[in-house]
C-alpha cells in the first residue's frame, strides 16, 4: 500500500504515547522537573534529525510487533522505566486512540490535521526548550513539503493502509466506553449526524440537467442522517486553527488512563494467524528496523539523576494482575528467532538494544548474541 504511511503512523502514535505518559507522570506525583526531563528526552529522541531522515524515506509499514519495539525503545529514552504490563497497556491505548482517529477522519487528507494536532500539543510540552522546539518545527516543515502536495487519491491510499494496519484490533478502552464512542464489543460508534467533511454537501438533493446543461428538475430525498455543512476547513499552516478535534489530548486529571483488556473474540482466528505463521521476511524487516532505530540517539542517564518506574495502572497489584490475565492473542512476542542467522543485523541491534538495557538490567552477561534474544524476549 502507500509507502508514505510510516511517518504519519509513527508521529501520531508517538503523540498519543506522550499524552498518556504526561497524564501518568502527574497521577504518580512525579516531581515537575523530573517529569519535564522525561518528556524532553523522549521528544528530542523522537524528533532526532537522523531518525526523522530514516523515517521519511518512502517505505512499507512494519509489522505491529516490530513497530512496538520502536516505542519500547522510545519510552525508555529517559530515566523512566516501564515494565512489561505497563508497556503493553501503553501500546494498546496508543494504537486504539489512533485507530479511532483514522476511522473517524472526515476526509482522508484530514489525517494530516490529526498529525498537526499531535505536533501542536507536543510543542506545548517542550515550550521551554527552544532546541527541541526547533526539531519539531523541522519535522513539521518536512510533513508540509511531502504531504502538502499529495492528491486526495494518495491520501485515500494512506488511510486505507493505516486501517489495514489496525484491522482486527478491538481492545476496549474505558475512556471511549464512557464517552460512548466505543461499543462493548470493541467496535467504534460511527455517528450519522454532525459536521460533514469539508467539500461534501448535505445529502438529500437530486438535480437533473438537460442536454444543454440547464437544470430542469430539483428533487429531495430522505438520506437518514442529519448533518450540517463543515463551518470551515482546518488550517494546514505551521500555526492555525485545525478545526478538527481528533488528535488533541483527551486525557486530564479528571479523565485518567484506564483499559479493559478484551481480545477480539469475534475474530480470534484472524488475529492468531499473524503470530503463529512463521514469517520468512522477518530478517529483512529486522534490517530495516535496525537502520531506523539506529537513527535514534539515546542519552544515557548520567550524573546524580536517579531513575524511576512508571506504572500505567493505579496500583502495583493491578499491574501484576494485568500481566497474568492478558488475553493470549494480544501478546507481542519477541521478534522472530531467525534473526540470529543474520550476524550483522544481530550485532547492530544488540548494540542498540544493549545500550538501553545496560542500566536497566545490570545482571545480564556479556554474550551479545544470546543477549539480544533474551532482551527481545523481554520486549
Amino acid at each position: 500500500m502507500s509507502v508514505r504511511t510510516l511517518p504519519l503512523l509513527f508521529l501520531n502514535l508517538g503523540g498519543e504515547m506522550l499524552y498518556i505518559l504526561d497524564q501518568r507522570l502527574r497521577a504518580q506525583n512525579i516531581p515537575g522537573d523530573k517529569a519535564r526531563k522525561v518528556l524532553n528526552d523522549i521528544i528530542s529522541t523522537m524528533f532526532n534529525r537522523k531518525f526523522m531522515e530514516e523515517l521519511f524515506k518512502p517505505q512499507e509499514l512494519y509489522s505491529k510487533k516490530a513497530l512496538r519495539t520502536v516505542y519500547d525503545r522510545l519510552a525508555h529514552a529517559s530515566i523512566m522505566r516501564l515494565n512489561q504490563a505497563s508497556m503493553d497497556k501503553l501500546y494498546d491505548l496508543m494504537t486504539m486512540a489512533f485507530k479511532y482517529q483514522v476511522l473517524l477522519c472526515p476526509r482522508p487528507k484530514d489525517v494530516l490535521l490529526v498529525t498537526f494536532n499531535h505536533l501542536d500539543a507536543i510543542k506545548g510540552f517542550i515550550q521551554d526548550s527552544p532546541n527541541i522546539l526547533h526539531q519539531v518545527d523541522e519535522t513539521f516543515q518536512q510533513l508540509t513539503e511531502i504531504y502538502g502536495g499529495l492528491s486526495a487519491g494518495e491520501f485515500q491510499l494512506i488511510r486505507q493502509t493505516l486501517l489495514i494496519f489496525f484491522q482486527d484490533l478491538h481492545i476496549r478502552v474505558s475512556i471511549f466506553l464512557k464517552d460512548k464512542v466505543q461499543n462493548s464489543n470493541g467496535r467504534f460508534v460511527l455517528p450519522v449526524s454532525g459536521p460533514l467533511p469539508w467539500g461534501t454537501k448535505v445529502p438529500g438533493l437530486i438535480r437533473t440537467f438537460n442536454n444543454k446543461g440547464e437544470e430542469v428538475k430539483k428533487a429531495e430525498f430522505k438520506h437518514g442522517g442529519s448533518y450540517v455543512a463543515a463551518p470551515k476547513e482546518g488550517s494546514f499552516e505551521l500555526y492555525g486553527d485545525r478545526v478538527l478535534k481528533l488528535g488533541t489530548n483527551m486525557y486530564s486529571v479528571n479523565r485518567p488512563v484506564e483499559t479493559h483488556m478484551s481480545g477480539a473474540s469475534e475474530n480470534l482466528a484472524a488475529q492468531t494467524q499473524e503470530s503463529i505463521a512463521p514469517n520468512p521476511l522477518a530478517k529483512e524487516e529486522l534490517n530495516l528496523l535496525a537502520r531506523l532505530i539506529g537513527g535514534m540517539e539515546i542519552k544515557k542517564p548520567s550524573g546524580p539523576e536517579p531513575g524511576f518506574r512508571l506504572n500505567l495502572f493505579t496500583t502495583d497489584e493491578e499491574e501484576e494482575q494485568a500481566a497474568l490475565t492478558r488475553p493470549e492473542e494480544l501478546f507481542y512476542e519477541a521478534i522472530n528467532i531467525q534473526a540470529t542467522q543474520d550476524q550483522q543485523t544481530n550485532e547492530e541491534l544488540a548494540r542498540i538494544m544493549g545500550e538501553f538495557e545496560i542500566l536497566d538490567q545490570p545482571r545480564r552477561s556479556a554474550s551479545k548474541g544470546d543477549d539480544l534474544l533474551a532482551m527481545m524476549d523481554e520486549l
Binding site: A152, L190, V192, P203, I206, G224
Partner: protein, 343 residues
Amino acid sequence: MFRRERSIPLRGSAAALCNNLSVLQLPVGNLTHFGVVHGPSAQLLSAAPEGVPLAQRQLQAQEGAGVSPPLITQVHWCVLPFRVLLVLTSHRGIQMYESDGSVMVYWHALDAGDSSLVQAVFARGIAASGHFICVGMWSGRVLVFDIPAKGPNIVLSEELAGHQTPVTDIATEPAQGQLDCKPLENRDCVADMVTADDSGLLCVWRSGSEFKLLTRIPGFGVPCPSVQLWQGTIAAGYGNGQVRLYEASTGTLHVQIDAHARAICALDLAPEVGKLLSAAEDTFVHIWKLSRSPEGGYIEVEHCHGECVPDTQVCGARFCDPSGSSFAVTGYDLAEILRFSSM
C-alpha cells in the same frame, strides 16, 4: 422495503478497500458466490439462499520481495462468453483463476521499474468486455488481456493510455444491448467500457480488437472509486459522497445526487430493472431507480430505499440478483457478509 437476512460468517474481516465484495450468481444449484479481500488473503465462499456457507477457499497474493506479505487490492469474477474467470489483483501482480479459485491459469507480474521507490505499485479495477479482461494499473494504464475460450493461453493484447493517476475501477456492458436503441450511423461510437481514476477522471471506450477512446469526462479534485455503465449511461460515485450520471457517448452530465455524507466506496447495477445501488463510508446504502425522461430522453433518477448499517464503514456492496431484489454488504473490520432482501 428490504429486510435483514441471516448474515454469512467470514473467516477474516474485510479490509478497508473500495469495491471489496464480488458476487457471482450461477443458475446451477441456486448458489451465490462471494469474494472478499481480508488483506494479504482473499476469501471465496458459496452460500445457499438461506445464507449457510457451503464451500470456502482462501487465496493468497503471489509472494515477492518486500518486508510484508503483499496485499490484495481486489477480487472480481469476470463473466466471459464461454467461461468465468476469477481475477485477483495485488501489489505484486494479476492472478487469474478458474471460477472456483482452484487452479491459477495466468499470472502477470507488475513491472515497477524505478517508481516502486517513491510510490505504491499495484493493480486495481477489473472488468470483462467481450472476450477481453481489462485490469487497471497504479500508473493509470489499463491492460487488456485476450482470453481464449478455454485453457491458459491468455495474451496481453493491448495497453490503454488514458489516465495519469492510479485506476480505481472499470465498468463494462455488452454493446449489443445498446445497439437496438441507437441510430445505425452511430453504432461505431457505442461506448461499452468506462474507466475511472484517483483524480476523478473518467475515460469512455469502445472495445474491440483495438480499443478506442471516445471521450474523457474531467474530474473535480476528488477520486472516483466506483463506476457503472447501464444502457449508455455512466453512473460514477465520488470521494465527496456525490453520485453523477453522464451520457456515455457525449460525456454530458445529466444528474447530480448529493447522495452520501462520506466517500462512496461501491456502486452496483441491477441491469434488468435499471436499479443503482450506492454504498459509502457514512454507513448508508441507497438504492435508486434510473429511467429515461419521456420528453427530453435524458436520464432521470428516483430514490427507492435507504439502509443504515450501524457503526459499519461499508467497503463493498452488490446486488445478489439481476432484478435488484436482494443485496449484500461488507464493512471494514467486520467478519461477516450482511444480506438484505426485499419484502
